[in-house]
Amino acid sequence: MNNFLQYCFGGSALGARYALVALGFVVIHRATGVINFAQGSIVALGAYFTFNAHQTWGLPFVVAVGIAVLGAAAVGVLIERFILRRMAGEPVFSVIMLTIGLLFVIDQVVTMVWGQDAQNLGDPWGIDTVTAGEIVMAVEDLWSIGLAFAVVAAFFVFFHYSGTGLAMRAVAIDEEAAMARGISVRRVVAVAWGISGAVAAIAGVTLASGPAALRPSVGLIALAAFPAMILGGLDSPFGAVVGGFIIGITQTLTAGYQPTHASWLGEDFQAVTPYVVMIVILMLRPYGLFGTKEVERL
């Protein structure tokens, strides 16, 4: 039982990180209908910005994270302004490929600037743990879960009460109608990319915290965040968080129980569980758990 709870906690912490990455996808998808495959590399970029500001420039950690959030947001806005905007009206396939191309470029830039070696992000959480009952909880895991909830709460407030947030929802529902009401679609899309970059930086910090956890490959986790996003539905921030937690908990439970109970599934099966869960759920609900069904017009 204690093992089970421990796995569930570990899974929630992992799920919170998936959720943070998935939230970045969702914001862009809601506003523009694009899936940004380069999100993972912006996650890595955000983590390295924090590293640079904290370790190289010696700024306090919180300030460093703030700089990283702003920096990653700026990168998001620049990508939209100079590259994605030119792809308006192109088929989904081309846009997906374009973001994959960006992924390769940004990944190599990160490696070029900061090198291949694993680094310490220098987060204040380190390897501290808190014990509640029999469960040992790492402080960085608690922070990840807290940050995921904080971000989704901020999203809720932003989308429901701020003018820009409402405009963004309007654009997501009907771009032309929103334009006719005087909403600047360009601005909304730029803001979406900015927010996505900012969330990516936070995700990057939670992923790279801990000893020697900052590597150029830190963004690869974005690939496992795809199932989280798909599971919740591509356009639902709440769904992204639920999807993240489902995927994270399933993954740690599989890692905990599969080797002894279903060893015929092979070694390291937990690495593919997110995709298995995703395929099963999509077969039952093609638009995810909370996604809106596409209306087919003839």
């Binding site: 989904v92 081309s94 470029v105 690939l223 690495a271 995709y275 298995v276 995703m278």
Partner: protein, 370 residues
């Protein structure tokens, strides 16, 4: 005046005169001449290319078969797939098992690989019935990871993480492509394979070209252009989409089988997401929904890393020795790969095929520039 007449003249030759003209494959004299030149190049190329160049061209030919396959699915039917690497892997492992373990002859292991690919495609295809666009892209991405897991763990067939030696025979009747000997001239293994691979490229290209002129091929394109409209016209969506997956994945499996046999070794690492992305890049850079586009793209994507490698000591800022400052050749290749995809999509979304078409139109309509 003569210039204008000559312009008219060449335009006339391309004019359609009756129904047969619209269905002819090699309609104009130019095309027939091109066919003859292509055939000549095919025959003499292994005599003039160096062994290293032949390796590159051979790998490019294998990639061309796979890319033509992906183009059927993505270019002609409009279904996005990032799962092509898995289909290639399925073919490669089938070849390793049927050609190597069971020691069946070349036509049989190629056919079995194609069949295995078709089966896998038929299983995956139905997913496309419920999912579109981005959802389909991500589910096929999941497929690659699951497939790789199977390749790594099904030890008794795939050899697991250690990979598997492929000893499939490449003899067709009395001709052994691995030790080709024609009239006293002994070809290298790469030279022999060149004939096999590029012969198959031509065959596959002809096959797909003809398929696209058939009822099924037109159904593919109707589904791509608007699936609901196609359904209204009487195209059976389910059957058409699944067929597209079947054709595409069986061609991918043939490419995978050739790849395994040519490389003499298969390794589960190779059939991952990156391979899928490479194939998508080939059709994007070559030109979607054309026959020669994927071939150009395959040549281009395969050749670029080798060109970079050969010239790396002349490119400033590239480290060729360990410990030297600058970026590695690998990093440069990866970054360049990304830049090429982004550049082509932004500036030439129809790919190399569009460049070729533009050059052709320029000369056809000369001296008029429009």
């Amino acid at each position: 005046m003569t210039a204008i007449l000559r312009g008219r003249d060449s335009a006339n030759r391309a004019m359609l005169r009756d129904h047969l003209d619209t269905t002819a494959l090699w309609r104009t004299g130019w095309r027939r001449a091109g066919l003859v030149i292509g055939l000549l190049v095919y025959i003499v190329a292994p005599l003039y290319l160096s062994d290293f160049q032949l390796t590159v061209v051979d790998y490019a030919g294998i990639a061309a078969i796979g890319a033509i396959g992906l183009n059927v699915l993505t270019g002609y039917t409009g279904q996005i797939s990032l799962g092509h690497g898995f289909f290639l892997g399925a073919g490669a492992y089938t070849a390793a098992y049927v050609g190597g373990e069971l020691d069946l002859p070349l036509p049989l292991w190629l056919a079995t690989a194609a069949l295995a690919g078709a089966l896998v495609g038929a299983v995956i295809g139905p997913f496309a019935l419920r999912l579109r666009g981005s959802y389909l892209a991500i589910i096929t991405l999941g497929l690659v990871f699951i497939g790789q897991h199977v390749f790594e763990n099904w030890d008794s067939v795939t050899g697991g993480l250690n990979g598997l030696a492929v000893t499939a025979p490449v003899e067709l009747g009395p001709v052994d492509f691995a030790e080709l000997d024609v009239a006293g001239h002994a070809f290298t293994r790469n030279g022999g394979y060149f004939y096999l691979i590029w012969g198959l490229v031509a065959l596959v290209a002809l096959l797909v070209k003809n398929l696209m002129r058939s009822r099924l091929g037109r159904a593919f394109q109707a589904v791509r252009d608007r699936d609901s409209a196609a359904a209204v016209m009487g195209v059976r969506l389910a059957r058409t989409k699944v067929m597209s997956f079947v054709v595409s994945s069986s061609l991918a499996a043939v490419a995978g089988a050739l790849y395994g046999s040519y490389q003499r070794f298969v390794n589960p690492d190779e059939f991952g997401l990156f391979l899928s992305i490479r194939y998508v890049a080939m059709i994007v850079i070559g030109g979607v929904a054309t026959i020669y586009g994927p071939v150009l793209g395959a040549l281009f994507i395969t050749a670029v890393p080798h060109v970079i490698d050969a010239w790396s000591d002349r490119i400033p800022g590239v480290a060729t020795q360990p410990g030297e400052s600058g970026i590695t050749v690998f990093a440069l290749n990866q970054a360049l790969f990304g830049v090429l995809i982004v550049g082509f999509l932004l500036f030439e979304p129809r790919g190399l095929a569009a460049v070729w078409a533009r050059v052709k139109t320029y000369f056809q309509s000369w001296p008029f520039s429009y």
